[in-house]
């Protein structure tokens, strides 16, 4: 029996095909709040979600230097904010 070609188009009638229902509940409003608040601070180069010192959920702010870290709020949208001093985040080409 011939193996199916890996380059064949997917079957449009397969059960998993077709429109996917939009699920607004997948967008976390507290994430949007935290991201907007933290990225508005000068010197913040990124925002993520990690764990604090005791394993609880925390926002991570990737910042240029310690002076920016010192200006971060302690909490945003119900979670603590922890700083990662990355400096400028560069592509690692060379």
């Amino acid at each position: 029996m011939m193996e199916p070609s890996p380059f064949a188009s997917p079957d449009p009638n397969a059960p998993e095909m077709g429109p996917v229902k939009y699920r607004a509940d997948e967008v976390d409003p507290s994430r949007e709040t935290a991201e907007a608040a933290l990225l508005a601070i000068e010197g913040v180069r990124g925002v993520g979600e990690g764990r604090d010192a005791i394993g609880g959920p925390a926002w991570i702010a990737y910042v240029l230097d310690q002076s920016v870290a010192a200006r971060l709020p302690a909490r945003v949208a119900g979670r603590p904010v922890i700083a990662e001093v990355t400096g400028e985040i560069d592509v690692l080409r060379r």
């Binding site: 180069r45 990124g46 993520g48 979600e49 990737y62 690692l92």
Partner: protein
């Protein structure tokens, strides 16, 4: 994949493919071990990164390193040089376990689970201050419309 450098843009991957003659490449990855080179294979089934996951990579500059995933949903402003910055979302972040996980020249390294399966997790592309950032491998494979053959 083209990168959108406009102010309000969102990027998920920084990646590319190339064609090769299958008989001129090998599936093994390489790393330096006590002065000589050693080879290993990686899994072909991608796995979703989780916080705390221990991962590894073998890169051009820093060679074989291991690290721990600290973030699986990072939004970043990445410096491409020459005054150009691009926004990325849904990235993973890694801290090295014994020194830096990566540095300049390590981009393009596959990041895999630090276990006997070595399942693909992410594609290394950026970093700073001892933190390395990678594109989620599922997004890379979807963007390039490729499957892993390892």
């Amino acid at each position: 994949m083209p990168i959108d450098f406009s102010a309000g843009s969102v990027n998920y991957v920084d990646c590319a493919t190339g064609w090769v003659w299958p008989d001129r490449v090998r599936k093994e990855f390489i790393y330096r071990a006590s002065g000589s080179f050693a080879y290993f294979r990686v899994g072909s089934v991608p796995v979703t990164a989780t916080i705390g996951m221990v991962v590894g990579k073998s890169g051009r500059t820093t060679g074989l390193t291991s690290g721990r995933v600290i973030d699986v949903n990072a939004s970043l402003r990445v410096n491409f040089g020459g005054g150009r910055f691009a926004n990325f979302r849904d990235q993973i972040a890694i801290r090295g376990l014994n020194g830096d996980f990566s540095t300049g020249g390590d981009s393009g390294s596959l990041i895999w689970t630090w276990d006997s399966h070595r399942r693909p997790v992410a594609l290394l592309f950026a970093g700073g201050g001892g933190v390395t950032f990678g594109n989620k491998i599922a997004r890379v494979l979807a963007a390039l419309d490729v499957e892993l053959v390892t």
